[in-house]
Assembly symmetry: C2
Homo-oligomer: 312 residues x 2
């Protein structure tokens, strides 16, 4: 039994070590362009991948499952994958915790005006600012998958007034849920701090644009921890410069690393992080990966299963 | 039935309005040095105060209870208060929420290295930093009163490894509790992010000093949201400059507003806020205050009752 590992972002040695502890019989093979380490392609039953080479996974006749190294699967193109092989997203408890922290931190940042306090400190100004009560602070989460629902629940536990928006209807205790094209304007109109945790699909590409930004109330803030192409960069800069949007925190970009001449680097109303909102760590992610391998070996499907047509 | 209001920090008009809604029969009188608005001192049954003038409360023969406008009572000196009159601290749900947010924000700030990311962004550097797992991040809360226990429980819910230290033994689910002089070194030795929420008493004054800072592990961070005199300023600066302590977030100071020539303003390893970690808001604080007035009128003691000898 062999697993093919292929990723430019993840450390193969760490994955080899943690998988060996969970599944000592698993043969760990690292993809290379020339195929030197792969051995007999017929041995490969599992592929653990981030952004594999186009069509590369079609070379393995006994492949049983494709396991994503990330929560999103926009690094996979359905047309390049072998037909009929299940694809599972990664649900890493460490990744979920990391995203939760990122969303809570930046939500509190805008809620409690810590950016303004930092600027006041730099100017040696001592001034308490008026403070809205948490219960009246409206936070809106776009995307209510595993990460979005988790963030929504934790913000609700902190007593924020939380709403969510997703393509299909969802129910989360304590969270006002909107859905579909019809619900988007209402959702945005009620959102002071907008958090984007959507999957990247043709429908969600460019969803943060001049029209939707204008639907947010004056002074709203944006947190994008999903994918760069959710945002139309020029539209966001225009909304920040006009003052309609007070600030944006961006972890993801159209091109990564963010090119050094991009306007985001210097913009006074933008906080940015280098795609670090949450990082897959082999030590916590190995458990659900090993669990999925065991499930497939037992004749079950891996979880959570991706609908490659929907894109998530 | 009359209440005397005396505070330099709190807005009497807002308090008059919110109290009138809860207790329409309560006569609201604002203290002035000349006593112009107080009327007959014998009318005053309640005092709602922050830092009243020395001895001023002894002038009211029918005073039934002293209600603090803050969670701490270091603004009151037992020697200046009329004997035998119960003193209650303020437990404002809005104040508790505010402190919880402050502690969570700055804990995540150090845990997730957001200060380092901000510096990298300013230098246009794109670099993901190694990240410790939340479950292994040791946060220590000094002071396990209402605010400390609340912060400890919420950090535990976020899956931090939380310890607490208090004068007397305490039990909080999921939190490793240390106590007394004997427990302090052990507590500090296990703490990477130290949060001070202690009451200010003779025993806790100067508790963050060269000796205790040295007991923290290399690279620890400090968050002080209690009172300025908990910290020996020069000792903290020395520990920051030596690199033993990576950073400090300070909301409170020996003298407030912080004098413009104080070294804290410019220190690159210090984040400061102007005693804004949490602010009493009349709209949320009025309920426990009104509740205490009703308790006293019904012959009960107000809550939580302060032991003025202990100082909290």
């Amino acid at each position: 039994m062999a697993l093919l590992f292929s990723s430019k972002n993840d450390d193969p040695e760490r994955w080899r070590d943690v998988l060996a502890q969970e599944l000592p019989d698993l043969d760990f093979r690292i993809w290379t362009p020339g195929g030197e380490n792969i051995g007999d392609p017929a041995d490969i039953e599992f592929a653990l991948v981030w952004g594999p080479k186009k069509g590369a996974l079609k070379a393995f006749p006994n492949l049983k499952a494709i396991l994503s190294l990330g929560a999103g699967v926009d690094h996979l193109d359905g047309k390049d994958l072998p037909e009929g092989i299940p694809v599972a997203r990664l649900v890493d408890p460490g990744l979920t915790r990391g995203m939760r922290e990122y969303v809570i931190y930046w939500t509190i940042h805008y809620h409690r005006r810590f950016g303004e306090y930092a600027a006041a400190t730099a100017a040696k100004t001592w001034q308490q600012l008026p403070q809205a009560d948490t219960c009246n602070r409206r936070v809106g989460i776009m995307g209510l998958g595993m990460l979005g629902a988790d963030a929504a629940m934790h913000l609700t536990a902190l007593q924020f007034d939380v709403a969510g928006w997703s393509r299909s209807p969802k129910t989360i205790p304590g969270v006002t849920c909107y859905n579909g094209d019809d619900g988007l304007a209402d959702f945005l109109g009620h959102t002071e701090i907008l958090v984007c945790l959507l999957p990247l699909t043709p429908e969600t590409t460019g969803i943060i644009n001049t029209k939707t930004l204008a639907q947010l109330p004056e002074g709203a803030a944006i947190i994008n921890a999903a994918r760069g192409p959710h945002v139309v960069d020029d539209d966001l800069i225009q909304a920040l410069d006009s003052g309609h949007i007070q600030g944006a925190t961006l972890d993801v970009f159209h091109i990564e690393p963010l090119p050094s001449d991009h306007a985001f680097w210097d913009h006074p109303k933008i906080n940015l992080t280098p795609h670090a909102a949450s990082i897959t760590t082999p030590e916590t992610a190995v458990l659900p990966v090993a669990q999925n391998i065991r499930r497939v070996l037992a004749g079950q499907t891996p979880e959570p299963l991706v609908d490659m047509d929907a894109g998530y």
